[in-house]
Symmetry: none
Subunit: 257 residues, 2 copies
């Protein structure tokens, strides 16, 4: 489905940005790059910034007009720095990502079009787009670097694609470790821990056994909100056991021997 | 609220990436940049890539250690390319953006930490973070350019911030509903606590001082995710102090007298 999505860069001035865009695309699982009259291409600078995404540069299509770049496309998204005179369907990157994946999944051929570093897309070019996408930057400093703009849009495509695949956005399949992958301590284990903790605090003279309430309540609140795992609980209980031995002077005796 | 958020770049090799990160930050309305031992800075290349965000470079703080960079922080997010052996609370960029804005709105001082271009953050550095953030890239080509990684995370912060601004009643409600009425412990207070904890565990023979890594990592994870308040930290430190006395046999001596 991702192969139905192409990134189109129009009249790019700095070849480094083409390389940066290629890298961003490959990071996000996209591969099809179309360049409309780039000022310099191919280029060592593009290769350097691509940092391993040179396959995307090598297979990039170089064309003379936006029309050629959009050949076969059924849905075109154009990035726009600001509102234009003509009102147009405007999306933020997240909405674009959702729409791109929805439509690509139904077989649409999709283009994400990015304009010149200094002046973006012309009004004529923007009118060839079905949707305009605006990255919500600070109005006081609104112009993103071309490669980072490509990164934001392709990131939203990937987030949306992962969600559509039913894949988690944060843990790769081969990765095991979630903080919740460990079994949590049960409520009664937690209670036994609090009892043990209280006895230990009394043993080290930290807690007055006559009025344990306030301090124990605070400690319960602290550990209670942490979702302590069983493994962690075992560590804490181990610490308490050793502390009790220390309180009985056993460590000192052992060292004296 | 956005001024409570700092971006921390650790041991950056290429000054161009520092400039690119500064530009991305300014685009997204952030301004506070901290550099931990950058290889080259200041630099013309950084200025060129900053493309007008030179004010951020000029006011950037250069420090020698990550610890200094995190001084005063109450919540730290570290970017991670992959999972480590020890499971850690892991967020995707969107979840991070939501959490950053929620916590910054309640006065938290927040750091977004980015590692080296080639090798990211070390395990030690990652263990100083409360949350790890993974940008869901293609596992076959997963390493993002540093500046574009900064762009993705700061974009999500801005999206979340804009949403929060558009629904002021929701933010007010969250603030009222928050259990968080206490001031949080800062990162350096937390570090001093871990040091104290480690010394104490050695004193009670629970921790082998030759290989403290794994156990301390687990304990850092446990306390790190709890957002420990300053008052709670004082209680924990008090317990440690009494435990150390017990380990020295002082309690026993007192009772023997």
């Amino acid at each position: 489905m991702l192969q139905n999505i192409r990134v189109v860069l129009v009249n790019t001035s700095h070849p480094g940005n083409i390389g940066g865009a290629a890298r961003a695309m490959k990071n996000m699982g996209l591969s099809r790059l179309v360049l409309v009259e780039p000022r310099v291409f191919p280029s060592h600078e593009a290769d350097a910034r691509a940092s391993g995404a040179t396959d995307i540069l090598e297979s990039a299509q170089v064309v003379a007009t936006l029309e050629e770049a959009l050949a076969g496309c059924t849905l075109v998204f154009g990035t726009s720095a600001r509102d234009r005179r003509i009102p147009w369907p405007l999306l933020d990157p997240r909405e674009s990502g959702l729409k791109v994946v929805e439509e690509a999944g139904q077989g649409a051929q999709i283009a994400l079009v990015f304009g010149r570093e200094d002046s973006g897309l012309t009004n004529d070019e923007l009118q060839r787009c079905h949707f305009h996408v605006h990255i919500p930057s600070d109005p006081a400093f609104s112009s993103l670097n071309l490669a980072t703009a490509v990164q934001v849009l392709t990131y939203e495509v990937r987030m949306s694609w992962l969600a559509a695949q039913g894949q988690p956005t944060k843990i790769e399949k081969d990765e095991v470790a979630s903080p919740r992958s460990e079994e949590l301590a049960t409520m009664d284990e937690l209670e036994r821990f609090y009892e043990h903790l209280q006895q230990t605090l009394v043993a080290i003279d930290f807690l007055d056994p006559e009025k344990p309430r306030h301090l124990m309540a605070r400690l319960r609140r602290l550990y209670g909100r942490s979702s302590v795992s069983r493994a962690e609980m075992n560590i804490l209980r181990g610490i308490l056991t050793e502390t009790q031995k220390a309180a009985r002077g056993e460590l000192q005796k052992r060292k004296d021997q």
